[in-house]
């Protein structure tokens, strides 16, 4: 199934989110966003050339909104944000909320359809049709039909269907980044580098998704107490500095173990 986020049997981002929020009763804080983003990237990777731009964009919007919302909750507050930005975020969140409600509505309607089908399947209709003595009376359905008509019908039904029109994506380079790789890269670069700005860590990236993934990786490290984050002014640069921890000097294995644990 195209688009399946590789997290169990979920059929897309809404399905997954609904499940995570409603069924497990965990809040967004617990959702493994890294997992969703990685699954998405894996999907993009596998679908080079047949990516549905509309859906891809949609998923990106959802992922970005989640990242945004999640960042708000992970970062130490109170974060001083401009009113416009705050309102825009609320708007995105409300949109996401509306879509989740819509998805839930149709899912529940689908459950009712299933119940109707199950109930109706307990009765079978009479399909015996005409008794033999009446069949002779029935109009000959093959009247006026000859072998050429049968041949033409077969050609009609079996002709190759023209491929659906699609947007050429040859110019779109596939994105190959994962949160895990970003963590690995940061663990290699940050120790001993002093305070680096988030901008300097991402200015080599042309793709927004790479910046998002990098940001997720930094949040990951922050959560594990491996980096400190600082933002001195509104809209100012976010600085990232490595917290020297001798226990970690042995290697980076524990960091990756941490990424897995974070998947919750």
């Amino acid at each position: 199934m195209s688009y399946a986020v590789q997290t169990g049997d979920f059929d897309g981002p809404f399905d997954l989110l609904l499940h995570l929020i409603l069924r497990d009763e965990v809040d967004l804080y617990e959702i493994s966003l890294a997992h969703i983003v990685d699954g998405f990237l894996a999907h993009l990777d596998a679908q080079v050339g047949v990516v549905d731009l509309e859906l891809t964009t949609e998923f990106l919007v959802i992922a970005a909104t989640l990242v945004d919302l999640k960042a708000r909750r992970l970062l130490p507050g109170p974060v001083d944000v401009a009113l416009d930005e705050e309102l825009a975020l609320f708007e995105q969140r409300d949109l996401l909320l509306a879509r989740l409600i819509e998805a839930k509505t149709f899912r529940d309607a689908g459950d009712t359809i299933e119940r109707l089908v199950q109930a109706a399947s307990r009765s079978l209709p009479r399909t015996a049709g005409l008794e033999d003595r009446f069949i002779a009376l029935a109009p000959d359905l093959l009247a006026g039909i000859n072998a050429a008509d049968i041949h033409a019908a077969w050609l009609r039904v079996s002709a190759p269907t023209p491929p659906p029109p699609r947007v050429a994506l040859d110019h779109v380079a596939p994105i190959r980044v994962s949160v895990e790789e970003a963590v690995e890269d940061l663990v290699a670069r940050l120790p001993g580098a002093g305070a680096l700005t988030f901008r300097s860590l991402t200015d080599a990236f042309g793709d927004r998704i790479e910046v998002i993934v990098r940001f997720l990786a930094i949040l990951e490290l922050y959560k594990q107490g491996l980096v400190e984050l600082d933002q001195t002014t509104t809209f100012g640069d976010l600085t990232v500095s490595w917290v020297v921890d001798p226990a970690m000097a042995a290697g980076t294995g524990a960091v990756f173990a941490g990424v897995d644990a974070y998947d919750g």
């Binding site: 209709p125 069949i135 029935a138 000859n146 072998a147 049968i150 077969w154 079996s158």
Partner: protein, 189 residues
């Protein structure tokens, strides 16, 4: 309150397309064939008693519901005015699939045409243009259909070999896939 066996007999006979033998009914109801005959006679008498428009009769070794003979004029009107007089384009396409690719299951026809074909196949079978020719050996044991002698006669053909040859015509990949895959009963009925 009618007995469970009487009611079950009515239910089975109502959904049966062919006369049902008392042996089979007896097996399903855990009764002797003789007892089944008694039940059916009881049912038949009860329909006559209240003057129903249908009868339960024993034909061809089994029991079946039929319209009451004295209502034949109404049924004839239904046959003449209530039935399609021409094969729809959809039905013709389904018929052509069977003609060229028999034996073929309903699931395969549905996969090729992209729509459910159950009603069309039922109609074509009832009219005697198609017939069951076997069962798919795979799981599900789907019924396989072929064209009948009547089909050839009506088309003025001696045998299937007289159908217009396909030459080097290559069907679309989805058709080839539908035919190659051992599509079982999934999706039909």
């Amino acid at each position: 309150m009618a007995s469970e066996a009487l009611r079950a007999t009515e239910a089975i006979l109502m959904v049966a397309d062919e006369p049902v033998e008392p042996q089979l009914l007896g097996q399903l109801l855990e009764l002797s064939p003789a007892r089944v005959d008694e039940l059916c006679e009881e049912l038949a008498a009860s329909y006559v008693a209240v003057d129903r428009g249908f009868v339960l009769v024993r034909v061809a070794g089994g029991w079946r519901f039929q319209s009451h003979p004295d209502l034949a004029p109404y049924v004839e009107r239904f046959v003449l005015d209530g039935q399609p007089t021409r094969l729809s384009a959809a039905a013709l396409e389904t018929l052509s699939i069977v003609a060229y690719k028999q034996p073929v299951s309903r699931a395969q026809m549905a996969a090729i045409r992209g729509v459910n074909v159950d009603a069309v196949v039922r109609k074509l079978c009832q009219r005697g243009y198609l017939e069951e020719v076997g069962r798919d050996p795979g799981p599900g044991q789907a019924v396989l259909y072929g064209t009948s002698r009547l089909f050839l006669e009506r088309l003025g053909l001696d045998s299937l070999a007289d159908l217009t040859p396909l030459g080097d015509f290559v069907p679309g990949p989805e058709v080839v896939e539908a035919l190659e895959r051992g599509l079982g009963a999934d999706g039909s009925s």
